[in-house]
Symmetry: C2
Subunit: 241 residues, 2 copies
């Protein structure tokens, strides 16, 4: 079973100027690949803070995916921080400098060359038609903060993360959560390995709670689903997905 930590880097998220849509995307995609996301941490653009988190998360989880803080401006510190986290010097990538030259049609200036700096020994992975490659250092994948670019880059490496996927069933029920607690507890006693979620919804007309039943064992989930449906009153279920 693989685990992952997601590190979201950027004052713009913490100060409420930009909504982070990258970590919800990565959570969905990683889950569908069978990876368990254990932590999401959002931190400011401070090189020591980024480096500390990269180091700790790299030691704690199988994969670390960072989002944001790569680019040419003063607050783009992620590459420096990843280098510091692993005690590696920064070096200019001739390959990236050449890509910049081709993309812009001119000799790179100082701000462009900042983007050609990578931690020594980093792996560079090309992503479709993007001129800037994905930078990977050990188990740390350095993604951009711009969602459209992050999606493209993730697509180009998604198969690296694939494991045994989860099987998920959703049951939408009409009673309030407090009215079905006993049934849920009984279900968990019978199926202790079931990943059971119970999520009340306020503004839905047709149901009051979404229940989720999950496991990597499809047959176990099916048996648990049958047991749950038998425990609930027949008119309690709005739909099963």
């Amino acid at each position: 079973m693989s685990t992952a930590g997601i590190l979201v880097i950027g004052n713009e998220i913490l100060s409420g100027k930009v909504v982070d849509t990258n970590s919800p995307y990565l959570c969905r995609e990683l889950r569908s690949l069978g990876v368990v996301v254990e932590r999401i941490v959002t931190i400011p653009d401070v090189v020591e803070v980024i480096a500390d988190h990269v180091k700790t998360m790299s030691q704690t989880y199988d994969y670390v995916l960072t989002s944001g803080g790569i680019g040419p401006t003063h607050d783009d510190l992620t590459i420096d921080a990843v280098a510091a986290a692993f005690g590696r010097p920064l070096e200019e990538s001739a390959s990236i400098a050449e890509r910049i030259r081709r993309a812009t049609g001119k000799t790179p200036g100082r701000s462009e060359l900042k983007m050609a700096q990578i931690p020594a020994g980093a792996l560079l992975i090309d992503s479709g038609d993007l001129w800037f490659p994905l930078v990977v250092v050990e188990n740390v994948y350095v993604f951009p903060g711009i969602p459209e670019l992050l999606y493209k880059k993730f697509e180009s490496v998604r198969e690296r993360f694939r494991g045994v996927p989860f099987v998920l069933k959703r049951v939408y029920v009409k009673p309030m959560e407090s009215e079905i607690v006993e049934q849920l507890n009984g279900l968990l006693q019978e199926f202790p390995k079931l990943l059971l979620g119970s999520y009340p919804r306020i503004h839905e007309k047709s149901f009051r709670v979404m229940l989720t039943l999950e496991s990597r064992d499809a047959e176990y989930v099916q048996r648990a689903l049958d047991s749950l449906l038998a425990r609930l009153p027949t008119d309690a279920v709005y739909k099963v997905e």
Copy 2:
């Protein structure tokens, strides 16, 4: 200057089943009140993990706001964890038990009484028409995960967080970020205390970068804005907000 940490509790977020809209809301609201959010951490429904984070964040930031994990089901562990974090026993709140009695019109059962358990000495704050009060232990505010309820509860305590607000100016510019790096660096040399953000947008037609200029000193922001506009070519600016 007050600081805050936001602790988002729930497997449903990490597994991509539910998108966290609470932390973006809290970030925006706290920023508008002058509070600096230093960290957002999203963690699973594990009592020791929740307790560890509550304890550490409580010692690190002026305010901690938790979201999720309160309710009657097996995965609602936040109250237990907050009690553990502060070494306080759980006790049944006669006041909450009475509210449950009034709300449901009957004697509370075991699952309802679970919701009447609070850490000893917790502060209870009523929120409008909600029957369940906001639970506050020291500097930790325990919010529900359901967004509509979180918003209502935050409204009832928002004035507790008010400090000196930030003044924000947004400048939308047409050049690419890499073309204005020198101007931004020059601006920061002249206004070293300016909080300057630069956020490229891919799918906008009218501009390529949103710049944000921020400070608690309105006059400082205005001078920095004037300086920035003087540094940029006249046709580079799409609009200023």
